[in-house]
Symmetry: D2
Subunit: 294 residues, 4 copies
């Protein structure tokens, strides 16, 4: 299974009571269906998965499966701290038509799980019992755990672990992984501000929060990479760098949802404790996105 | 409500299928009932709460409520990332007879929630809607977030926030909090290796993983503090220091459960990815606990 | 050699050209001579040693040796990154009448020196060649390196390493060290906000920046410890906690020097890039020190 | 002044007494003179500058100035913690014919100097008094301080600050800087494992420890960038990635010096506490460098 191209980890639309807003989800997916995205990741970090109950996750997977066009590959964010619950979630998503699971590094008991052996145990135990292939998900800025390239190299030997989404933004690490993993294991990145150089050094695709709001720009960079147009690629990269930092590092999901609202998608509110943007933050995002269409 | 004295954040017993082992839970609680503990915290970090489903948490709260003796104050670990779900869990526990909720700092979206305003919003929003009082829970070693004393001082003004369990082990911070919070706000600590000096500088109690396996020793320190027997207190502190580090920082919950097994409680296995102890680790714990009775 | 009691790591007075201000140094030392301090540490972190040339360090050691009263034990801060230069500085200070050297953990090449073997090599190599005994100096807040208690336990076996100044403020670590070092090895602390509990758990003394400006208060706590007056000790601790945080963590040496100016010592300016205090910071320090006499 | 191309921060050769080995320094420089390097950085981190006395630094600058060929641009590593001493060192190097100073971020008093205002004050104060232009030097892995892109953007306005050597390896940050600094300000990188993608996104040159031992490989990458040969560039990058990690992150300067010994340069011993390599480490480096000529 090839995971090439650009995937948005889709945001979860909430209404003003904080409930999932099904019609707006359909609106977003139908609009994304018309862009050259390779698929969707449902219930990733950008989807506020840590704020969702199990029932809500399963409902979301079902809703997206209903309205995604057939050419989109569906991935489910299923990683929680325990092997047992991660397997259950993964197999629930597989039953709903998902093709791969994105599984985050466990991180709560840092003194026990932040080492190569524990990471190997976790991912291989999940993979052994999962009814679809896994993509490892590394995002140290949230988890406080940064998976070691050696752990990834070992895990790449497992037949049911096919990829990693590396969101640290650390290109040295991405390059080391690409050199050391088993042939065919796919390295995707999760950082829009370094998309262009990541593709240049061998990443096969990307899962980008930013692509929720401005998918065309990310696909343009992907196409520039495929057609070897270095100037265009770097130029577009420089156009998205600032805006991408705004809606990830600086203002996070509330910022991203506001950019979606600006670009014809439904962003809407986040669940607490994520807070609404200040008027100044909104204006900063408006300025940054005025030339980036959805 | 006074939260003085020693509380174990009780471990969750699992059978060898990984399911909750109800009869062993009853065994443990009945054994603890006979010791001078002030109460129990159910579904804390030591209870592997991040590995439990919502249904399992509710079941555990019910089981413990059934078999705890009347003199024990019951607290429920209810903090998850969202305000909404934390409120729901808190009110479910209140309905089962719990008297206070222990609520962990949110930490996943670190760039957005690791600041005083967001922490104030989170805890005051939960407290506004909770049907029982809250104890803030700070454990930076797991969460990567260390609540600022100023946030605690502000939150101590909220009528429904009555205490903090400060598990960082940082006594400077504990002392600063004690000086700055509203009169009556209670500071408990969560680190057995610094129990004695923490009581000396004004902590009113402690929630101690170590007390699962060796409650008498911790109560002895508490009593030495109440009766101002400084030599006995420091002597006992030095006796538990090494063993307490073993079953927390070094070997974590698997180590603690093994020490429980040694002392007549049921420890049993943890859920994956927490791993069984090596024979060397077991021997180290056996040596350390040979003079510490349960 | 006993290192009991309170030692200020003395500030280095500069005139408004940034040169060492010898007459003010003499003024300060003569004023401190009249207080019950156990001795002086010259060229520690608080002495802006990282801003001093080798010639200036040697000059300072000489000047203080001239005006310190005979009952004060003199220690020299001599630790720099290389073994070779640390030995040279240590032996220069010994030649000027100093009795012990305070030697900081090396820290620049963190990937190479931040491990137990390298720390053992560094300190034992220095100790082998030093003509006076060493006190290890650990201050992770500046160096980014936190010496492991196991390294300290191993180094405590060296006949020429007699003490540690542990400035992390981490009491769990201090207690572990006290349990694990060779009998007779002395543990001093370097954090005024935790002085009282540190003495309670077995620290024999303290090297306190705060004692530059308010030596009486720290000596009062020391005396309360010796005479077992727990209430007085804790009361004084709580009186110095806030002011001590101001002139260390919050405003650093510029704050401390300003508090010295308030209390009849010469503080004066720091070398750049340390900046003068704002008027607000000055007012905050004035308020905090109004009941703390020099 | 253009700082394009590849610069080795040259190692400092010591004899077996630990003294500077002048004839070996001459040997190395004469051998490097014959390669297409753009110049030399003398007394950088790789030159063990934190182990050198002021007299040794000045002697080294003089020795290299004597034997460097005329086409090599000479830069001096002059940054120490104080403005005053950094200015003195910078002007001493300028007097010896150096063309630019590489000045490291101050970092010891982290709570006071790790902020944009203090960094601005430090670098602009040095630049105001320096008789040659400055290149900011950021290496958070050693200093524990990571200069903020906004500080760099502000400093790029100063007429005497012309460049930054950014060694964090963080390409997102490099890209942000390139977008935000004043036109003409030059961004160099200091990480061989990410050389190729750094050049792709706009870095104009690099200061690379690895270039001490294998300058040809780094120049080949530089040339591939100039001639837009993407495949060759990436291929060479992948060839140096592993070896470069070995002689920087993993084994540091002792590893690099050993690789120099293998390639016809004089590496020799480091000063303590840097330790000699184990036989296993030597073998690993031999294997990694067998196809990389000096």
């Amino acid at each position: 299974m090839k995971l090439h191209g650009i995937y948005p980890p889709i945001t979860t639309p909430f209404d003003h009571n904080g409930d999932i807003y099904k019609s707006k989800l359909r609106h977003n997916v139908e609009k994304w269906n018309r862009v050259g995205l390779s698929g969707y990741v449902v219930c990733g970090s950008t989807g506020e998965s840590v704020f969702l109950t199990t029932e809500e996750k399963i409902a979301l997977w079902g809703m997206v499966a209903e309205c995604a066009s057939d050419d989109k590959l569906l991935m489910a964010g299923t990683g929680v701290e325990s092997v047992r619950e991660t397997v259950a979630l993964t197999n629930a998503a597989a039953g709903l038509g998902y093709k791969a699971a994105m599984v985050r590094t466990p991180h709560y008991y840092k003194n026990l799980v932040n080492n190569i052996d524990a990471q190997h145990l976790y991912f291989s135990s999940v993979a052994d019992q999962a009814r679809m292939p896994l993509m490892i998900y590394n995002w140290p800025q949230a988890t406080g755990v940064d998976i070691h390239p050696e752990a990834v190299a070992r895990l790449s030997e497992h037949p049911n672990i096919i990829a990693i989404k590396e969101s640290s933004g650390n290109l040295e690490k991405v390059m080391q992984m690409i050199r050391e993993v088993k042939a065919g294991f796919q390295v995707l990145v999760g950082s829009a501000p370094t998309l262009w150089p990541s593709l240049q050094i061998g990443a096969v695709g990307a899962v980008l929060a930013f692509a929720n709001a401005a998918p065309y720009a990310t696909i343009t960079i992907w196409e520039a990479h495929r057609t070897r147009e270095a100037e265009a690629g770097l130029d577009w990269q420089n156009r998205i760098g600032g805006p991408a930092v705004l809606v990830t590092t600086k203002y996070g999901i509330p910022g991203l949802k506001y950019a979606m609202d600006l670009n014809g998608y439904y962003g809407g509110p986040c669940r607490l404790p994520l807070r609404p943007l200040s008027p100044e933050a909104k204006r900063e995002i408006e300025d940054a996105f005025q030339d980036l269409k959805g």
